[in-house]
Symmetry: C2
Subunit: 459 residues, 2 copies
């Protein structure tokens, strides 16, 4: 691969945007943390005041989208997500700002404190990451939501929403900048870009941008990972599984499997694979299959699960033989891949090699199976007798959610404000002569490495 | 850039290595944590027993290196770092294994525990990242050191050392595998590769490898970042600065500046830039400059600092005018870039835009300057009146160090065992019917989100 530093027509614009974000971030570090909540309040007030302008822009986006919908170029669900004029939607967006403001501040927390030696203290203190580049779908309220999270955590952000929401996103960004200009947070703390070419130029700005967060499918995440040196916290596929173990209680299995599959099929935490313990093929499995077919779920079955249900009348309509590819597929719709396994270890092995390490649930009464499941699975969320649909920042009580990370570093699973911080070490010498390592390594001073109470940060 | 999936001659070998590492990692997750220490002990025993074989291979590496040294193709310091037969070196390597074994286990720690609702508990538990690819310099003992850290933290690892240490690294890897084959940890848990082409093929194995850790210069880190989708925890440049503020105490300034620059000039935590408050130009600065020149440090000065010391006799030998590039340079030798600033804010601004965000120290008695320094600097280690040379995992009391990360995500600054873990969420329902979100969102059950005592993990 070649170096991603590009020199296309938009690269100088991208550099200017990224540099402005970095400067805004650096300036904001000396602003008192309480100003972040004042900024959030100012944004809420401006948006309330200019509601009509926002809805007017949104109407234009909606009209364009409906035109494309009638030509079959957009999906109905996309158009519906665009609409800010639906009852309660705008107010919910405003309330979201206040909700974020009321969360605990994630920065300035001491996570490690040691006396290195006499008069020499070391604190590890949480701080913002820096400049975020967030790429998301055509949902205009996400502009406001991400802006609020970035401000609360002290990170500057560059936002890019789906192109169908461009008019709404643009006015929302302008109003956010207008609100910030009345506060101590620089107005360029939150910026928006509108075109894909700007994104590709921004991906070369690793000098100024610290983290890229693509919210979207696997393809978007991989394409970004292929084109930047900047760390990527991506939300890729959600290929989640439920495994019904030998000791499963029927009612638990029925309730959890049916909800995990059918509650919201386009969600990343919906089940796409069902694993059945071989002992259940003649007993629980046909009941479960009937229940799924009642919910119009098509079953792609391996030979054993297929033959166990072929006498059920509905099966001719809903059941087909599976292919290997089905077990790697995020259907996002009414299709479920089904497979027989002989024990929990085999289930874990299948999931580790086929899933997207997102969320998987076991139905079992056996403590040993639970333990093998939770220890052996390499997934962000390992559940016992609970629906995969619980995998969500709000349901976890994290307050709000930046996204669900399928990565293995920094933050994993539902990411709250905590996932938007890193830390720095602060060391202060109170010795008359300052502190050198020679005092310790060539002199008389001894390293104590004594734990200190983790209280307030030193500065 | 093109997709990094390669199909060169070594790509199938690389895939086999990466897959074997992944399988070893997955198998090891069900092995009791205490077995990790037994494996470390077994490695120590085998290495003790086979010391002669190791030293024989090392002798061959040394002879080849000395040949290259005499042709001027290798540096003396590289050859000296290769040598495992120096007094105490081999024993120190063995002791390192025992030291790692005695550290607290970083996995299985509960970092968040909540009751989601009645009978439904959620725990966030630290766990290994998975498979690490570690690339390091030609220091054979690092093979053993990294293997010990990987085993202790439960991560499988693929190692690649500098080519000059190949014979020693190969035998060490074989002995580690031999030791592991007598334990419950799979022998492919630690593997070595020997060529650069294997590395580039391994960088395409993002399906199996979770984190790349290049220990080396900026160029190595950037080249790896350009060629992989796998997250990179790199140790890039160390462009560290000391700033002498208006209120600095002379003795502190002299001691800290001189040590930061001269103690070990090739270290990443050595100072490369010195910032002087303008009020000190006629007073403290000439004394400091004399002291640095006594230590044979060449000073690259801006006009103000240059004119303030041009009457010192030694200056004709040691002082030259600086260029902008000097302030971006990691000299790794007896050269220091010097610049005047008018206040701490200007110093912070200079460092944020010129440094590598590694370690910077202020010399001051002023609390406000300290606060601006520690809050405003975007560096991993922000010091007050202390030498930059303290930036080190052992000096921090982290027990041992994987490296020093100059990144902004996952882990920053000196990285100990804690930097080799991530977490997973474990959720368990104890309800008679299992748990669904419908119970909460369409039924009578209420989310409680009550904090639980963070004790043992549930499994």
């Amino acid at each position: 691969m070649s170096d991603p530093s590009s020199s296309g027509p938009s690269s100088s614009v991208a550099e200017a945007i990224a540099k402005a974000a970095r400067t805004a971030f650096e300036q904001s570090q000396l602003v008192d943390v309480s100003e972040r909540d004042l900024a959030l309040r100012a944004i809420r007030e401006v948006l309330e005041e200019k509601k009509d302008e926002v809805l007017k822009a949104n109407k234009a986006d909606m009209e364009a989208a409906e035109g494309l919908l009638s030509q079959g170029k957009l999906s109905k669900s996309l158009v519906s997500r665009l609409d800010l004029s639906r009852p309660g939607k705008f107010d919910a967006m405003l309330q979201g700002i206040s909700d974020v403001a009321s969360l605990p501040v994630p920065t300035g927390q001491v996570t490690f404190a040691k006396e290195i030696g006499p008069g020499l203290d070391l604190h590890r203190v949480t701080c913002p990451i820096g400049v975020l580049l967030v790429i998301f779908e055509a949902r205009p309220e996400v502009v406001v939501n991400i802006a609020a999270l970035a401000i609360k955590s002290g990170n500057a952000a560059i936002l890019k929403g789906g192109k169908e929401s461009l008019r709404t996103a643009t006015i929302l960004s302008q109003l956010i900048a207008e609100a910030l200009s009345k506060t101590s947070i620089p107005p360029t703390f939150i910026q928006s870009v509108s075109t894909r070419s700007e994104i590709s130029s921004l991906l070369a700005q690793d000098r100024y941008i610290d983290l890229v967060m693509p919210r979207g499918g696997n393809e978007l995440v991989r394409s970004i990972q292929n084109n930047t040196r900047i760390p990527v916290m991506g939300h890729a596929d959600g290929i989640c599984a439920v495994y019904v173990d030998q000791s499963a209680v029927e009612e638990k299995a029925l309730r959890v499997v049916v909800e995990s599959k059918t509650d919201y099929m386009a969600a990343c935490n919906a089940a796409e694979t069902l694993l059945i313990h071989s002992s259940l093929l003649p007993t629980l499995w046909p009941k479960l299959a009937s229940e799924l077919m009642k919910n119009n779920v098509c079953l792609r079955c391996d030979p054993s699960t297929l033959s166990a249900i072929q006498d059920i009348p509905e099966s001719s309509k809903f059941v087909t033989a599976s292919t290997e590819e089905d077990y790697h597929t995020e259907f996002l719709g009414p299709t479920l891949a089904v497979k027989t396994v002989d024990n929990v270890n085999e289930a874990v092995k299948h999931i580790n090699s086929h899933s997207s390490h997102h969320t998987d649930s076991i139905i079992t009464e056996d403590e040993k199976s639970m333990s093998i499941w939770c220890k052996g699975l390499d997934s962000a969320n390992c559940y016992v007798n609970a629906s995969t649909r619980f995998a969500d920042g709000t349901r976890y009580g994290l307050g709000t959610e930046v996204g669900i990370s399928t990565g293995k570093t920094h933050a994993r699973g539902p990411v709250g404000l905590d996932g938007l911080v890193i830390y720095k070490y602060m060391m202060r010498s109170r010795n008359d002569k300052g502190s050198t390592i020679a005092d310790y390594e060539k002199g008389e001073t001894r390293y104590t490495h004594k734990d200190l109470v983790k209280s307030e940060p030193p500065f």
